[in-house]
Amino acid sequence: MTDTATVTDVPQHPAGTVRHRLSVAKLNEQQLDGYRTAITQAGQFTPGDNRGYQWFAGQHGIPGNFCQHHTQSEHGRRFFLPWHRAYLYFFELALQDLVPDVTQPWWDWTYDDQNPIWIPEAYAVDGLPDGTPNPLFRQTIDVRPRRAGQPQATVRADGGPDPRAQPTQDDLETLLNESDFFTFSLQLEDIHDGIHVAVGGTMANIAWAAYDPLFFAHHTMIDRLWSMWQDRHGAAGPTDDMLGEALPPWHMTVQQTLDVDTLGYTYSATSVRVPGNV
């Protein structure tokens, strides 16, 4: 006897095992649909509801102002990676409350002159084949009270691949070999800044950047690189005096961000699952 499972029978993620964050460019149709559904449903909450897209987007810049990584002081700068890891963790959990098996995909903006890429198609198309808007292309910015000139929706510049902003694979290799955590963090932050500026529009403005769904794919790539760096350099990382620090508004300390396995995720490029026979 043969047990035959069809490809539509994707089982629930096995309990107690880590989920895989996948490359945006390599999501299959079902995975992309699931992620879009989660973003769409998250967007239906009112801005003050802390389960919704507007609430999460508003924690980075306006109105929450919690992102601290751009300050010059040693204290602020050192939290760039832990703070955003916590941010992604809670955002992803909120999406999983809506669509249980979604994970936050990463946008690989590494520059390859043989195959120059820029914003992934999943985020670049305005509308979907069924005629509905693509929730990854544009999101409302619902901050009240509105100020004159305040954008009401996310927008990006019409740019293409930009080798001035995108690191090459060799650049990333050099970066990942950097042994000092703070040097690594600072250099990665500068790459991060360059991508924000190159995307332009609301992504190039701290106040509004996180309203663009591309923000989360961008930061997941940043988090992925940190995870890869951790794999190479073991326990090296934030200093002991940082470990007990909280990362407001996230209910998490720096220490609790250090091991992605304990946060329930890991990084791969693709992942598919089918039912077994029990």
Binding site: G61, I62, P63, N65, C67, Q68, H70, T71, Q72, S73, H75, G76, R77, F79, R147, A148, G149, Q150, P151, V155, R156, A157, D158, G159, R164, A165, L186, Q187, D190, H192, D193, G194, H196, V197, A198, G200, G201, T202, A204, N205, I206, A207, W208, A209, P248
Partner: protein
């Protein structure tokens, strides 16, 4: 109008003769304002005529680049974006987000090349190019987005 450039006075290059050679050289931009528009900055050595159209290659003295992810203005009430420091030693609030930042550009190979040419100093020109705002309003000094307190050239020995 293109944003204003910055050109430094001559900065001394490190001695290399008779001493252990450095393995790394960084340009440090201290106190970089980040309250205004986002921009990309190209750094040129010994090319005070560099501008937004100058090719970013060694022939034209290109040394590196950085980007400033700016706040694009203040969105709070009056006083919201005036940086405050700790009130006292028990003040554990994080630093004010409007405080200036610092940028580091690694220039090891370019500094080595200048020294190999026998130069003893270098003039640094920084050329900012504003981010494409795609039509959204951005506050801040669009004519002088590049504002910083000091520029340093630092080398490191093993």
């Amino acid at each position: 109008m293109a944003p204003a450039l910055y050109t430094s006075p001559p900065m001394s290059l490190p001695l290399q003769t008779g001493v252990k050679p450095f393995y790394r050289a960084d340009l440090l931009f201290y106190g970089v304002d980040q309250t205004g528009p986002s921009y990309r900055a190209a750094v040129f050595f010994d090319n005070p005529n560099a501008n937004q159209d100058t090719p970013e290659d060694a022939e034209h003295g290109f040394a590196g680049r950085f980007a400033v992810f700016g706040k694009g203005g203040c969105y709070g009430d009056e006083g919201h974006c005036i940086p405050r420091g700790p009130q006292h030693r028990f003040d554990r609030r994080p630093p004010h987000p409007a405080l200036p930042t610092m940028k580091v550009v690694r220039v090891t190979d370019r500094v080595r090349a200048l020294i190999a040419q026998g130069q003893s100093d270098v003039v640094v020109t920084v050329v900012p190019t504003l981010a494409d705002t795609a039509g959204i309003a951005v506050e801040g000094d669009l004519e002088r987005p590049l504002q910083f307190e000091q520029l340093g050239l630092v080398t490191y020995d093993r």
